[in-house]
Amino acid sequence: MANTFFAIGTFRVSTPSVTSFTWSSIPQTYTNLVIMGACAAQSSSAGLKMFFNGDEASNYKYAEMYSGTTNTPEFQKSTGSDFALGNTNMDAPAADHNLGVEILIGNYSNTASYKNYLYRGNGGTHNSTTQQQASVGGGTWNNTSAITSIKIAKTGAAYFAVGTSFTLYGLA
């Protein structure tokens, strides 16, 4: 039986001028998609956002559990939000403040139902005092279209730090 975990595409930041990544023309031949990333902001801290098929309107919702900045576990849910990855926050600079993130997108090619995803983020760092956040969440894109493109972007005005990388995998 063949291995069924395939790399579709990887983005790596080599210069601090990147604010988003987009995988386009995603093959419709897999069952699920997985995104794995390690990232940081080039200057001030920021959050991650995700959009499908170029839809940046308020057609997303999510729920998550995350560690708060006061060492208190919290949960958050949001409906009608375009902030699809909740509190997966990253800090700056890259050398000390990487965020690891994994996103599972299920049944992405079907056209019969809305699209759901799970995500985990081990945000923060060994020496940040404000952005040490672990998050576990999930969300929905309220659209029945097959997902053909995925954009990962950051909040705020700064860029992704050099060394940031994201890979999209197809899971047969």
């Binding site: 039986m1 063949a2 291995n3 069924t4 975990f5 069952t31 699920n32 919702k61 999510y62 729920a63 998550e64 559990m65 208190t72 576990p73 919290e74 949960f75 958050q76 849910k77 949001s78 409906t79 599972l104 299920g106 049944n107 079907n110 056209t111 019969a112 139902s113 809305y114 759901n116 995803y117 799970l118 576990v136 969440g137 999930g138 969300g139 929905t140 309220n142 029945t144 899971l171 047969a172």
Partner: protein, 171 residues
Amino acid sequence: MPTTTFDNISTVTVSDDTVTSYTFSLATATYSNFIVIGSVAVKSGGTEDALKINVNSTTGSWNQQQLRTGGLANGVGIPSTARSTGLSYAQIQYSSLTSTSLRGGIFRLYINNPASAGSVLGWSEFYSDNTNPTIDFTSFSRISLTPTSLTISGAAGFRIGSVISLYGVIQ
């Protein structure tokens, strides 16, 4: 260097919404760990229910603990936990799926090295979408059993187009 292989053992795409359970063989001689990924919804006109898990086509005494969001509208609150013992089935929370919408849920279920342990130990994550989206994180156990099959049931039936995949990890 040892190789690790991640195989799709079986994928079910629901084409008959009157079917309420799907059973997968667990080839423990070949794979040491199993992952099930499902994108599911209750069938059109169906009633909300929990996804039920069992092994070897038998009910048994399951214990589980759950950490979950839920119960509030938009905003920030405190996660809730729940502990259950002596359940006939392990359950992945399924309560938020609606019978008339296009919404559903996604789950990821892990069963780790069941043959070696002589028991069933696993955990799952589940996200469901309705007007109050919910994320669940659940661990469950059933002792003194070597599983050879895994059954996932939804009493109401699954929406056509739902997909459940069983993956195996060779180590």
